[in-house]
Symmetry: C2
Subunit: 297 residues, 2 copies
C-alpha cells in the first residue's frame, strides 16, 4: 500500500517538455527539475529510463503524473473523465502502475452535441486554482498556450471548455511559413501588439491580415519590427473574440499559465474592455496535485 501522505513527486509531463516537483507533506515545493523530454521526444521503450531519471533526481517517492504522459502517445493511457467533473472524479480514476507507487491523472473531455474537446494537464492547474485561498466558486479561465483552453467552472466542478489552437498556429507561422523571417524574437504588449489585438478581435480575416504583414513590410508601409507583435496580437485577438463570446456573460477572466503568455493575454483582455487577473500555472499545478494527494492519502 503506497503512502501518499509523505513526500511526493508531482510531474507535469507535456508534449514538448516536462517539469517535476518534490512536494513535502504540506504541499511545499522542496525541489524541482525540468527539461525538454516531452512525450513526443520519447519512444515507448524510453519512458522507463525517463521516469528513472526523476527518481534519481529526487530519491524514490510515490509519483503522481499528469499531462500527455497519460495520452495514447504517452507512457500509459488514462481514459478521459467527462465534463462536468470535480477533482474527486479524477482522484477516483487514477491509473496506477509499478505496484501503485506511480499514478497517472486522467485527462478531461467535453462533448457538446457532435463536437468534442479534450485536455490533459491543464485540468490539474484549474483544480489547483480553484483550491487556492480566495478563489471564487464560478470562474471563467483562459489557459493560453499551444492549445489555449477557455474554461468555465461552478462550485467545485469544471463545467465545459473550448480549445483554440492559437499557440500552435503562431508556432507554425514562426517556424515554417513565408512570414517566418518577420516573426523571430519575443513579443511585448506594445502598441503594435494592441493594434493587432483590436484587428483580430474585430473579426478581420485572420490569414489575409497575416499575409498583409509581409506585403506591408515589402512595400515599406509599416516598420518591419511591428510584424511580430501585430501577428501575435491578431492571433490573440481572434482567440479572445471566440473565447469571450463562448464563455458567456462578461466576468473577470483568470488567465492561468506561463507568465510570459498570461501577461500578453491579460493586456489583450483589458484592451478589449474586459477584466483580467493572472495566475501562475506552475503554482496552480502544485496546488492541484497536492489536492489530489490529499484525496487519496
Amino acid at each position: 500500500m503506497t503512502d501518499w501522505s509523505q513526500q511526493l513527486i508531482a510531474v507535469d509531463w507535456g508534449t514538448s517538455n516536462r517539469r517535476a516537483y518534490l512536494l513535502g507533506p504540506d504541499g511545499a515545493v522542496l525541489d524541482r527539475m525540468g527539461d525538454d523530454k516531452g512525450v513526443t521526444s520519447l519512444q515507448q521503450h524510453e519512458f522507463a529510463s525517463a521516469l528513472a531519471e526523476i527518481d534519481r533526481a529526487f530519491g524514490s517517492h510515490p509519483m503522481l503524473l499528469a499531462g500527455m504522459i497519460g495520452s495514447n502517445r504517452g507512457w500509459l493511457e488514462a481514459p478521459y473523465v467527462s465534463c462536468p467533473a470535480a477533482l474527486s472524479d479524477f482522484a477516483g480514476r487514477l491509473v496506477r502502475a509499478e505496484g501503485g507507487a506511480k499514478a497517472i491523472v486522467p485527462g478531461l473531455s467535453y462533448v457538446d452535441g457532435d463536437r468534442g474537446d479534450v485536455m490533459r494537464g491543464e485540468e490539474v492547474q484549474i483544480f489547483g486554482l480553484m483550491a487556492l485561498p480566495g478563489a471564487a466558486a464560478g470562474l471563467t479561465i483562459c489557459h493560453p498556450g499551444t492549445h489555449t483552453k477557455w474554461v468555465t467552472t461552478s462550485g467545485d466542478r469544471i463545467d465545459r471548455f473550448r480549445t483554440i489552437m492559437t499557440g500552435e498556429m503562431f508556432g507554425l507561422l514562426r517556424d515554417h511559413s513565408i512570414l517566418a523571417p518577420l516573426l523571430q524574437g519575443e513579443v511585448e504588449p506594445c502598441d503594435a501588439f494592441l493594434r493587432g489585438v483590436a484587428a483580430g478581435y474585430s473579426g478581420a480575416g485572420l490569414t489575409s491580415a497575416l499575409f498583409s504583414l509581409r506585403s506591408g513590410a515589402l512595400l515599406s508601409l509599416m516598420p518591419q519590427e511591428d510584424a511580430l507583435p501585430l501577428a501575435s496580437g491578431l492571433l490573440i485577438g481572434a482567440d479572445l473574440r471566440e473565447g469571450l463570446s463562448w464563455a458567456g456573460p462578461p466576468r473577470e477572466v483568470v488567465v492561468l499559465g506561463r507568465p510570459s503568455l498570461t501577461r500578453l493575454y491579460a493586456a489583450a483582455i483589458i484592451a478589449v474592455g474586459g477584466q483580467a487577473r493572472e495566475c501562475e500555472g506552475a503554482e496552480a499545478f502544485v496546488a492541484g496535485m497536492h489536492s489530489i494527494r490529499r484525496m487519496i492519502s
Copy 2:
C-alpha cells in the same frame, strides 16, 4: 534587337516549382516542361544553370519569365507595378537581361490605406483570362493556391486584390501540426467537405473548429476519414466568407488556377449560394504571356 514575334519560351517560375512552355508565333504551345526547381530551392548562383536547362530543353529562343523569379528571392528583381494596372503597364516595365533576350514580368501591388498586398505570377494568368474569347469586362476572380488571390477587374485593368493565406495554412497544418496524421490524402468535394465549407463560411472560430477534428476523432464522435475534407472545407469556407464580401456585389466568380483546386472552390462557392466558372490557370498563363509578347514585338 530581340525578335519576340517568332518562337518564344514562356516561364511560370514560382516559389516551389516552375513550368515552361515553347510558344509558336500564334501562341500555340509547341512543347512544355516542368519540375520542382522553384526559387526557394535555388541559390543565387544556381539560376544561370537553371535557366540554361530550359534553353537546352527547347533550343535557344527569347524567354519571358513571370512569378517569384522576379522577386527579391529570385534571379533579378522586377519592381512591382501598382493597381489599377493594365497589361500595357507590365509590357512597358519588363526587366531585361542577357542583352534583352530574356525579360522578367513585374509583379503587382495594391495599397489600400495602410494595408498592402502583392502578387507575382497570378497577374499574367488574370490578363490571359481577360484576353480569352468571350471574357466579360468586369470580373471577380478567385485564384486559389498557397496564397489565394481575390481580384476585381474593370475594362482592361486589374483594379484591386486581396490575398488570403489559405493554401499555406492548410500545408502548415498537414505537414507540421498535431492534426497532420488526420490530414493526409486528396480532398474531394464530398459531403464532409461541404459541411466544413458551411461552418467556415458561417464565421465559426477557425482554429477551434480545426482542433475539434482531433478531439472528435479521439472521442469517436465522427469518422476519422472526415477530418481531411472537413479541415479543407473549413479553410476554404473562411476564405470565401472574406473573399466574397471583400469583392462586393455578388456576381459570377471565375475560379482560375489548378483544376484540382478550382473544382473544390467552385463547389464551395455554389454551396454557399454563389455562381462559379472554372478556368485552367496554365491555359490563361500562356494566353497572358502571348498577349505581352504581342505588345513588345
